[in-house]
């Protein structure tokens, strides 16, 4: 391979990206060295096993990925704004929609939610950390390395261009030659390890580490939704793992699982992809439902309406989510019986979802609603998500889907559920728990601007796409003719897209503004909350979370304590030495070896892949023989941290 094949050449935008990447790297290295931050970086972040810090790193990465995916989106919208535009050529356009979709789902939505789960769930259940803190660090670093491996594709070797669904035979060696598609396979595979480990980790954490008295049916709704999500992750992600491995075999070692030759079955890829893919959409929506439940209940000053109905509908969704996958390829033509069955299961899944919508409405009914920004996002969610759900049921009718499939109607549907559901929740949750993470709130006035600009922009962008779809505009086309008549609505859509971009910039500005000027929280209870995470005496909980593990007597325990005027004060006698896990650099090093191995596989340099895997196994081996039972935080240190007088 020559150097000009190794680096992507020829496009001024790519050169611009090269320059900015190099400058950013130099800037970061310079900053770290000048201010002697290397040790701080290593001790506080790279080796941490603290769920709160890992959560923050997840969220920071997710916001960066949101930026990257957002730039992709605006490039696409610019190209589509007018008919026959020459801004992007077809190959470049294909690469951009592929990386956009993959990054948004796998490297933005999932880590954003997992980050918030990391920060919040252990606090909500009154635990000091997750069940396997070390494994949690492995999860984060494998996710991060997988994301980085995927992201460098556009400057080194070329990006994948077969869509986030990567259907065969398009994604085969014949039709997608070069390393691009391998980046997809390896990036997702490595990040998938992290996701699966997170699934196991939080399942065990929620089942085993709850504070005394917190029975399953006393858990906050966000914790419940995380629990159900973890179950879906554990059962759905292995399907993706296997499918990716089989396609990797096809591409690198000449097997014929999904190829056209050698009795391969190309549609079996689609089948396996969606067997994972539909549960995946519920993985990214259930935590969102959980967050909205918390926020709506907090700002309506009422206990969640229909707590048990919410839980049962989530459990139903978890089961159902494995029974609907064929609705993504009705047009494959499995015949009337198959399509009818999956049509019905798909419509049925709308029922538990509808139940939840009514529960939120009844929670607000007669509540004293406070229109804070997290609440605004939640209200925006209810309205817009319903539009997405209704169009989903339209798509679920197999016969009608022959018309809608692969058009902008579908594109609009999934953006209405994914943006108005998942992204709104990420924003709402970020703002809501921001004081827990950083000790101050984001500015509410600027936050409301973000909400309105984003929500209006979102509707301006995606609502017209329903009509473009009905008018026959296919998805994944890089341009269209003047005569098609799709020009005006596309222009409108592009304007909406840029409004969302502006809203994102205001959000980032708000982070800076609030960092500079926001009033620092003096208590742990920034919003007059209901659940245990708000019960810590300091705004940001200390690394051990709770000096004394709370005893829970019912749902909304902290709220009821406050109502009764019986919030417990920490007493010196209650403090005992606290057992905490030690930091470790091994997860970071292990993930770095995964990068080497993955990079080698992408370019089919087996020597490098093998070297990387040896490194991975060496770190596993090292860990197996490392006996580290953690350490104890002394009573004095706890007293010191909690600032209580003897």
């Amino acid at each position: 391979m020559k150097w000009d094949e190794f680096f992507v050449t020829g496009d001024p935008m790519i050169y611009g990206a090269d320059v900015s990447i190099v400058l950013t790297m130099v800037g970061i290295l310079f900053y770290l060295t000048k201010y002697k931050k290397w040790k701080w970086l290593w001790d506080e972040w790279l080796t941490t096993v603290d769920h709160k810090k890992l959560g923050i790193m997840y969220i920071v990465s997710a916001v960066l990925m949101l930026f990257r995916g957002g730039v992709d989106a605006l490039l696409m919208r610019t190209q589509l704004a007018v008919p026959e535009a020459k801004f992007l050529d077809s190959q470049h356009y294909n690469e951009i929609f592929t990386t956009h979709g993959t990054i948004m789902i796998i490297f933005m939505a999932m880590p954003f939610l997992i980050g918030l789960i990391n920060v919040v769930v252990p606090l909500q259940i009154g635990a000091r950390d997750v069940a396997y803190p070390y494994l949690n660090a492995v999860s984060f670093w494998t996710f991060f390395i997988g994301a980085m491996l995927f992201n460098i594709s556009f400057v080194i070797g070329g990006s994948p261009s077969a869509g986030w669904t990567s259907y065969m035979p398009l994604a085969s060696n014949e039709l997608s030659p070069g390393p691009g598609q391998n980046y997809y396979l390896l990036g997702l595979q490595i990040a998938g390890i992290g996701t699966l480990l997170t699934g196991i980790n939080f399942l065990v954490t929620i089942l085993k580490m709850r504070a005394p008295g917190m029975t399953l049916f006393r858990m906050p709704m966000f914790t419940w939704s995380s629990l159900v999500t973890m179950v879906i992750i554990i059962f759905a992600f292995p399907i993706l793992t296997v499918a990716l491995a089989l396609m990797t075999f096809d591409r690198l070692f000449g097997s014929h699982f999904f190829t056209l030759q050698g009795a391969g079955m190309d549609m079996l890829w689609a089948n396996l992809f969606w067997l994972w893919g539909h549960p995946e959409v519920y993985i990214v929506i259930l935590p969102a439902f959980g967050m909205f439940s918390e926020i709506i209940s907090t700002f309506s000053r009422k206990t969640l309406f229909g707590y048990k109905a919410m839980i049962w509908s989530m459990l139903l969704i978890a089961g159902y989510s494995f029974l609907v996958w064929v609705h993504h390829f009705f047009t494959m033509g499995s015949g009337a019986l198959v399509n009818s069955v999956f049509s019905i299961t798909t419509m049925a899944i709308g029922i538990p979802t509808g139940v939840k919508i009514f529960n939120w409405l009844f929670t607000m009914y007669r509540g004293k609603i406070q229109f804070t920004t997290p609440m605004l996002w939640s209200l925006g969610f209810i309205v817009n998500f319903v539009i997405g759900g209704v169009t989903g049921v339209m798509l679920a009718m197999a016969a009608a889907d022959y018309q809608y499939h692969n058009t902008y109607f579908l594109v609009s549907h999934f953006h209405y559920v994914l943006i108005a559901g998942t992204v709104f929740a990420c924003f709402a949750g970020l703002i809501y728990w921001y004081p827990k993470m950083f000790g101050y709130k984001l500015n509410e006035r600027i936050g409301k601007w973000v909400f309105w600009v984003f929500t209006i922009g979102f509707n301006v962008c995606f609502f017209p796409q329903y009509f473009l779809g009905l008018d026959g505009m296919p998805r994944r086309v890089y341009t269209y003719s003047e005569e098609s008549g799709w020009g005006p609505l596309n222009m409108v859509s592009t304007i909406g897209g840029f409004m969302m971009g502006i809203a994102f910039l205001i959000l980032v500005y708000n982070m800076y503004y609030s960092f500079r000027y926001a009033k620092r929280e003096t208590t742990g209870d920034a919003w007059d909350g209901r659940t245990l995470e708000w019960s810590t005496p300091t705004a940001m909980p200390p690394f051990y979370n709770f000096a004394k593990i709370p005893e829970v007597t019912g749902l909304d325990h902290f709220w009821r304590q406050k109502q009764a005027g019986k919030v417990e004060k920490l007493k010196v006698e209650d403090i005992k030495p606290i057992h905490m896990p030690s930091n470790s650099g091994v997860p970071f090093i292990m993930a770095s070896f995964f990068f080497v191995a993955g990079f080698g596989m992408v370019f089919d340099w087996m020597w490098m892949a093998i070297a990387g895997m040896i490194g991975v196994f060496a770190t596993l081996f090292y860990r197996s023989f490392e006996y580290d039972d953690g350490y104890y935080v002394s009573v004095e240190e706890v007293i010191e941290t909690e600032k209580i007088s003897k």
């Binding site: 089942l207 079996l268 089961g319 015949g335 198959v338």
Partner: protein, 140 residues
């Protein structure tokens, strides 16, 4: 946060894990050998490797997944275990039977016969043959 009692139970050489690990690899290699190196008929190959697959699944449940351990500690734990196993069985059945059904019904089955001329027999179609024949026009 290592729980002391759990940690102690696991001391000593993990023979169970080692045997499970080696047997899993052997069974996999054996399946590969049957499929690649023997000239048994397709049906027999399938039967044998499916047999190996079930054997390996059972082995892993026994050796790694503590399937025989029952919890006397709490009611919740055993309920969770049972729920887990049932859900796993449900998902596995859906994946396998569902995939076979979906891939073998209707037009999907052409997938296997990309290059053979049109030889499908209509009895095998998943139900509505009027519907199927209606589609042929666009398919060809």
């Amino acid at each position: 946060m290592a729980n002391k009692t759990v940690a102690n139970e696991h001391h000593g050489f993990p023979w169970k894990h080692l045997i499970g690990f080696v047997l899993s690899i052997v069974l996999t290699l054996f399946a590969l050998w049957i499929a690649l190196e023997t000239d048994l008929s397709m049906t027999w190959i399938l039967i044998i490797i499916f047999g190996f697959a079930f054997l390996q699944a059972a082995l892993q449940l026994l050796m790694f997944m503590h399937v025989t351990e029952n919890s006397t500690k709490s009611n919740l734990t055993s309920r969770v275990q049972i729920g887990n196993i049932l859900f796993a069985a449900f998902v596995a059945i859906v994946i396998v039977i569902g995939s076979v059904w979906v891939m073998a019904a209707g037009h999907a089955k052409h997938d296997k016969h990309q290059h053979s001329p049109k030889t499908e027999n209509h009895e095998n179609h998943g139900g509505g043959s009027e519907h199927d024949s209606g589609e042929h026009g666009s398919h060809e």
